[in-house]
């Protein structure tokens, strides 16, 4: 069964087709990468999956549930986790608290006004769990604003994981990372991949070839080629449209 | 109700709208270009009115006093910019609210101390004091017509400046993408100062014009400030055209509402009830309008793009 299903998604900005009949199906434990030149409509696609934009037509299903008409928070509650291209964390919260509040949204009502949230062991252990998974254990009490860029990228991923998603949407997770940091993140995602299906938008082709089971090439809002990384690499249309840009 | 009365009300509304436009134009630019919340914009209106009072007392010449008041309002705006506002552009909105609130408190009290807490009035010179026969039944005060005319002239002048001149282009660019303007190497400090000075002068001008018609008293700018906020929200922050349309809209609705609300309500309800809620409803109309606009067009009627 597929976890995320995108069916005939269409979106127009004026006369421009930013999403043109996009169909993607991502099976359990599959990592699906979307690549394409700038302006191909990757960000618009991500916004439609996460709920920040409404498609003109088409449907999005998460684990069989139609989420097309849900708002952003409802989709997260339904099991969607995401990271942002531009790092987005809670700057004045500590690393641990960033993770704890992410876990809190999936652990009962947050309309509780009296009990001290920092003393809730379920939240704290969920946060520590996520902390370990992204390897930030020794930074738990640091205020997020004081982290390095690389650490913040990790925290970003940790926040998504702490919400116990069924599916991960990763928007250029390698953006702005150095070679070493990239490699570390790739191996982290390799571990995750076995337990969680994900859709990955990325420019780093090395990362994509290591991580993706299926690669789709998006050009002018349309998926021109879709297949295994090797097949896509060999495909003349994909080379012309995208690899020709010199991103390899 | 007679057509004549309706015509008078519309003219009054138009005249009030022009006054609102003079105040709002500066406020919307200052906020749009600099992202600066200036609560003290209303006291600049008050300053204009008191300046006119002081100068007419000194010189006895109305037109000369108007001119002197305008120059002083401009100078006063530039001084405030230099000593206070300049240091607040990069601060949080909360700091701006706090500091400009302090200026209001100070100037309102100063007006009270210097001119007394009572209402002052200014006599119009003879050539402006009379009325003019518009139709057979309708005589209308010349001064109010002049106000409408002057407002229109200023609107046209501002529109041309903002649309067709280099500084206007910078202002528009500043209202939409402030980073770009400074990236272009424009002397942003000077641009701000000009916008601020002109805004202060226009608010002062509105005060000058209003002084002979309305009551000159401490705190007279506070309510105008709030109505001006309503205008720039309805019009779209940073948009002079929007401010113009919204100012006329607010002026007309407020004036017509105040005169007609009770009458209209008494068609539906009994007269004593209508008398009771009519005036309150009329004072609220523009706020209801603003709330409605914010719900259906959160960025106003004619938004300048990209203003947060």
């Amino acid at each position: 069964m597929s976890t995320l299903e995108i069916l005939h998604l269409n979106k127009k900005f004026g006369a421009i087709n930013v999403s043109n009949d996009i169909c993607i199906s991502i099976a359990d434990n599959e990592c699906h990468a979307v690549i394409g030149p700038n302006g191909a409509g990757k960000t618009t696609l991500i916004h439609q999956i996460s709920g920040m934009l409404k498609p003109d037509s088409g449907a999005i299903k998460l684990s069989g549930q139609d989420i097309t008409n849900m708002g952003v928070p409802q989709r997260v509650q339904a099991g969607l986790g995401r990271t942002f291209q531009i790092t987005s964390v809670l700057p004045s919260f500590s690393v641990l608290e960033n993770l704890a509040i992410a876990a809190q949204s999936k652990s009962g009502s947050s309309m509780r006004f009296f009990a001290n949230a920092a003393r809730e062991s379920t939240l704290n252990s969920a946060a520590s769990n996520a902390l370990e998974r992204v390897g930030l254990e020794d930074r738990a009490d640091v205020i997020a604003a004081e982290l390095s860029h690389g650490e913040r990228r990790l925290l970003e991923l940790g926040i998504a994981l702490a919400g116990k998603p069924q599916f991960l949407l990763l928007d250029e997770p390698m953006a702005g990372l150095g070679r070493v940091e990239s490699a570390a993140l790739v191996s982290l995602l390799l571990e995750l991949r076995r337990s969680m299906p994900m859709l990955l938008v990325e420019h780093d082709m090395n990362a994509i070839f290591k991580l993706a089971d299926v690669v789709s090439v998006l050009v002018d809002g349309k998926i021109v080629v879709s297949g295994s990384p090797e097949a896509v690499r060999a495909d003349p249309a994909a080379r012309a449209a995208y690899l020709g840009e010199g991103s390899q | 109700m007679s057509t004549t009365l309706l015509l008078i009300l519309c003219l009054n509304g138009l005249q009030y709208g022009m006054l609102l436009f003079l105040i709002s134009a500066g406020l919307t630019l200052v906020f749009g270009v600099m992202g600066f919340i200036n609560l003290a914009h209303g006291v600049q209106y008050m300053v204009g009115a008191y300046l006119l009072f002081a100068f007419t007392g000194l010189t006895g010449n109305f037109m000369l006093s108007v001119l002197l008041s305008l120059l002083c309002a401009l100078a006063f705006g530039l001084l405030l910019e230099f000593f206070v506002f300049r240091h607040l552009y990069t601060r949080s909105h909360l700091d701006q609210v706090l500091a400009t609130f302090g200026i209001i408190i100070f100037l309102n009290e100063l007006a009270k101390v210097v001119f007394g807490p009572t209402t002052l009035s200014i006599a119009l010179p003879e050539f402006l004091a009379g009325s003019i026969q518009l139709t057979e039944q309708l005589k209308y005060p010349i001064y109010r017509l002049v106000t409408i005319g002057v407002g229109l002239l200023v609107a046209i002048g501002l529109f041309i400046t903002v649309s067709y001149t280099r500084i206007g282009m910078l202002i528009r660019a500043g209202a939409t993408t402030p980073e770009m303007v400074s990236a272009l190497g424009v002397n942003i400090q000077r641009l701000f100062m000009i916008v601020f000075g002109v805004g202060a002068m226009l608010a002062g001008f509105a005060g000058v014009i209003a002084a002979p018609i309305y009551a000159v008293e401490p705190g007279m700018g506070d309510n105008m400030l709030i109505v001006a906020f309503v205008v720039i929200i309805i019009g779209g922050i940073g948009s002079v055209g929007g401010a113009f349309i919204a100012a006329l809209l607010v002026g007309l609705i407020d004036t017509l509402g105040r005169s007609l609300a009770t009458e209209i309500l008494s068609f539906v309800f009994n007269p004593s009830f209508a008398n009771q809620i009519g005036p309150a409803l009329a004072s609220m109309l523009i706020y209801v309008l603003m709330a409605a606009i914010l719900i259906f067009r959160p960025r106003g009627l004619l938004p300048a793009k990209g203003v947060a």
């Binding site: 928070p73 809190q104 919400g163 | 206070v84 009290e109 409803l281």
Partner: protein, 315 residues
């Protein structure tokens, strides 16, 4: 125990001792002034919930104080005297009004929110001036006050003092508790980064609306007590300058700090009283004082105060 908590307890112990200590040194009349500051502090605590914890700068908060005062005054005029019943009426009315205005105002953010709350405040002001049966512009003098099951202990002197003190303590305790709760955490997260908070699965507007309603209800309670203390209500309670004063109190005291609103309120009342005893036109000094404090506290006065106390801030 952290230092801000100790400071808070010291403040309350001092306030508790005042009605007994002041008459001993012949300054008993000062309790009236302290009541005034405590009433201001209650309203400021509720506003800090919005500004400090929620990042929502409202310029119409005084309207809720006024609504609370009028709700109680009008109910009192129509024969309801029990202060607990009046409390319920006040809470219901301010909560209801906040629910309606809040769900509209929270469609906007930033400066738009500031202006729309200002507009709602003005609407409240004009509504109150139109209540001809209850004094209109001039306000309403109350010839009878609220009682506690027929007893007039809550009307004057120490009885009133301790009711106000108790309310202050309750609001202080409640808001501080709340700031550390699950709810407070979400509210602060939405202040920090609303987009991320939504993507964590929270409907930011819902939490903000709840905070807005709670803040309005606390402000309403302060209004009820303002009425009881002044024996008079008037539309001036809803004037936007009052909302400005509340912002001054909250910012001067320190945003989102445990005792900031109380300190700010006492600071303002004392400054007013001290300056006022020197010259009648104390606002000539107070106005520039505000400007100077903003200008010469680097990075903003609020930043200065909060960073100073950051160590004591809620975890």
């Amino acid at each position: 125990m952290d230092r801000s908590l100790i400071l808070g307890l010291l403040i309350f112990l001092t306030l508790l001792a005042m009605p007994f200590a002041l008459p001993l040194i012949g300054q008993g009349y000062l309790t009236g002034l302290i009541i005034k500051a405590m009433l201001l502090a209650i309203a400021a605590i509720s506003l800090d919930l919005l500004i400090g914890h929620g990042g929502l700068v409202s310029l119409g908060h005084a309207a809720f104080v006024a609504l609370g005062a009028y709700a109680a005054a009008i109910a009192l005029q129509s024969g309801i005297e029990n202060i607990l019943v009046l409390l319920l009426i006040t809470l219901a009315l301010t909560g209801f009004v906040a629910l309606i205005t809040g769900s509209l105002a929270l469609r906007t953010t930033g400066v738009y929110f500031l202006m729309i709350t200002l507009a709602f405040g003005q609407m409240a002001y004009f509504t109150l001036t139109s209540l001809a049966a209850y004094g209109g512009d001039d306000g309403l003098t109350l010839w009878s006050l609220a009682t506690l099951f027929g007893s007039n202990v809550v009307q004057k002197g120490n009885g009133l003092y301790f009711i106000v003190l108790g309310t202050l303590l309750a609001s202080w305790w409640f808001v501080n508790r709340m700031s550390q709760s699950r709810f407070g955490r979400v509210l602060r997260a939405a202040r920090d980064n609303p987009e991320r908070t939504e993507v964590m699965g929270y409907s930011v507007t819902r939490y903000r609306l709840v905070a807005y309603v709670i803040a309005a209800m606390i402000a309403g309670v302060s209004g009820l007590l303002v009425m009881q203390h002044a024996e008079f209500v008037s539309p001036a309670l809803a004037a936007w300058q009052r909302s400005g004063d509340l912002i001054v109190v909250v910012v001067l005291g320190g945003l989102a700090t445990r005792n900031g609103a109380i300190l700010g309120a006492f600071f303002l009342v004392i400054v007013e009283e001290l300056l006022g005893s020197f010259i009648h036109e104390w606002r000539l000094i107070y106005g520039p004082l505000l400007v100077f404090m903003v200008l010469f506290a680097k990075g903003g006065l609020s930043d200065l105060l909060t960073s100073k106390r950051r160590g004591n801030q809620v975890a």
